[in-house]
Subunit: 293 residues, 2 copies
């Protein structure tokens, strides 16, 4: 759905801005995400602060994928009538730690009440650094793809409490030669596919070294899927996939410069190939899986 | 409701950005408005193109009130499931004439479907001109307040088809000494009150010269309210109130420079006073009326 709409807008608005996690306008980056009750969260079953946090964090993750510095946010909400302003307060409480951590300025808001479900829509602006932005389409054949954390099982909790990889992306973009990046919002294999397609390439998965989260293992006991299948398709990991030359990848895997600074480990998960499509290491083709809007 | 939330955000975010129609960040202006089904429109009773148009136009009106040049927009929608992408298309069709007229760039979007009502949230960025922005708080005692068009009865049709006063505000801000501005979103008397309060002043209404729309007259036949009462309280006129020194007001009322250029007539509607509160010409105090979110 999102794909169709974006394709339509792309063609009709004559815009080249829509092939990345966020749009770049001069030295400004902009992104928007809307979360809706029943689709992105169940209001009765989740602490409203977590919802507010997530609504902001998913946008920050898009800015991170571009290697940008988030600056300003505007927040629009439609609040279900009985809950009203108290819910607004809780949502804001959930955002506040991220606002402080990333020195964001709340630049505007629109608060509505209605007799329907909760909707929260946040637009985040960011600044391009002197290193320029990271895009999806910069990958080269032979590039290694690293990921910034464990994958799968995000639905259990990580989808609400993940840390957007803002500082990590800024550090890597400043000190290393990163060709392309994307954040994993809809599923590792699907977002790997998107990055490789935008780069005009395919990818071979390093299925042995995909870092699998304990939550994926836990979930696999209930679902009958393997932990790897969860890691490949679950979505909402909000880790970054980063494509870079093999030499840079080796350096990063040995030095692990994010570990001391941010307690983040980099793992090798794939290699970009001139052959299109996704393949396992033995050459078997597989289809990307994840959440299609 | 909006008032409380904004006050909260103001105090908690330590932001001075929220006392105007839009926030100013360096040379960028930013504003957001969310429209919700059942509150801002009835989906079955209005052409969806009108809804898309309005969702964009209300934001453009905020940019107009700041004397800014709109540049980029991002659009987030939650679509009721049965309608889906066709509805998205209709919404976009309604926006397109405004996108073309004001040379806007669609810089991003987020499309969601759910089993609830239609929500559309648009963020618009604008540019500050060399003349600087217009604010609510710049009014001086003795300033005359002019309005850019007829008031009242907007609910019949004007609320969807109004023209944001972008070009008018730019022209006036460039060629005349305008002290303060606001757009009439929630009711003429309420927004006049807001402008005067932000300026630390009150206002005397020129009730004889308030320009009353034919729609207000038409509506008054059904409601029993006078046309003037409709003009004072109806809201969603999306005309601009502009405060300026008496000499500038006289010049504008004689020259009517917007008439030839934009087919827009300026009318005198009030005078700012050091005495707080709203008064009729005979000195009687009255309370602002309009739509409180």
């Amino acid at each position: 759905m999102e794909t169709e709409w974006i394709e339509k807008l792309r063609s009709r608005a004559g815009s080249e801005l829509l092939g990345d996690d966020a749009a770049v306008l001069g030295d400004t980056i902009i992104t928007v995400d809307m979360l809706t009750e029943g689709i992105d969260f169940l209001l009765g079953q989740v602490d409203p602060e977590w919802i507010g946090r997530k609504a902001l964090a998913v946008n920050l993750s898009d800015i991170a994928a571009m290697g940008g510095i988030p600056t300003f946010i505007v927040v629009a909400v439609a609040l279900p009538k009985p809950a009203g302003i108290q819910l607004a307060e809780q949502l804001y409480n959930g955002m506040e730690p991220l606002i402080r951590k990333y020195s964001l300025t709340l630049a505007g808001g629109d608060t509505n009440t209605w007799n329907n479900g909760l909707v929260i829509s946040i637009t985040v602006l960011g600044r391009v650094t002197p290193q320029g932005v990271l895009r999806r389409n910069g990958g080269k054949a032979g590039d290694r793809v690293l990921v910034t954390g464990l994958l799968g099982g995000s639905i259990l909790e990580h989808q609400f409490l993940f840390e957007p990889r803002i500082f990590e992306a800024l550090y890597l973009n400043e000190h290393f030669d990163i060709h392309a990046a994307i954040d994993i919002s809809d599923g590792f294999s699907l977002d790997l596919h998107r990055l490789s397609v935008e780069s005009g390439l395919g990818a071979t998965l390093y299925e042995k070294s995909v870092p699998i989260s304990p939550a994926a293992v836990q979930l696999s006991r209930q679902t009958g899927q393997t932990p790897l299948e969860h890691a490949l398709s679950d979505g909402e990991d909000f880790e970054l996939l980063l494509a870079m030359p093999p030499g840079e990848a080796e350096k990063l895997l040995v030095l692990q410069p994010l570990r001391e600074r941010f307690n983040v480990t980099l793992y090798p998960v794939a290699e970009l190939t001139s052959e299109l499509g996704l393949r396992f290491t033995d050459g078997t083709v597989f289809l990307p899986q994840g959440f299609e809007h």
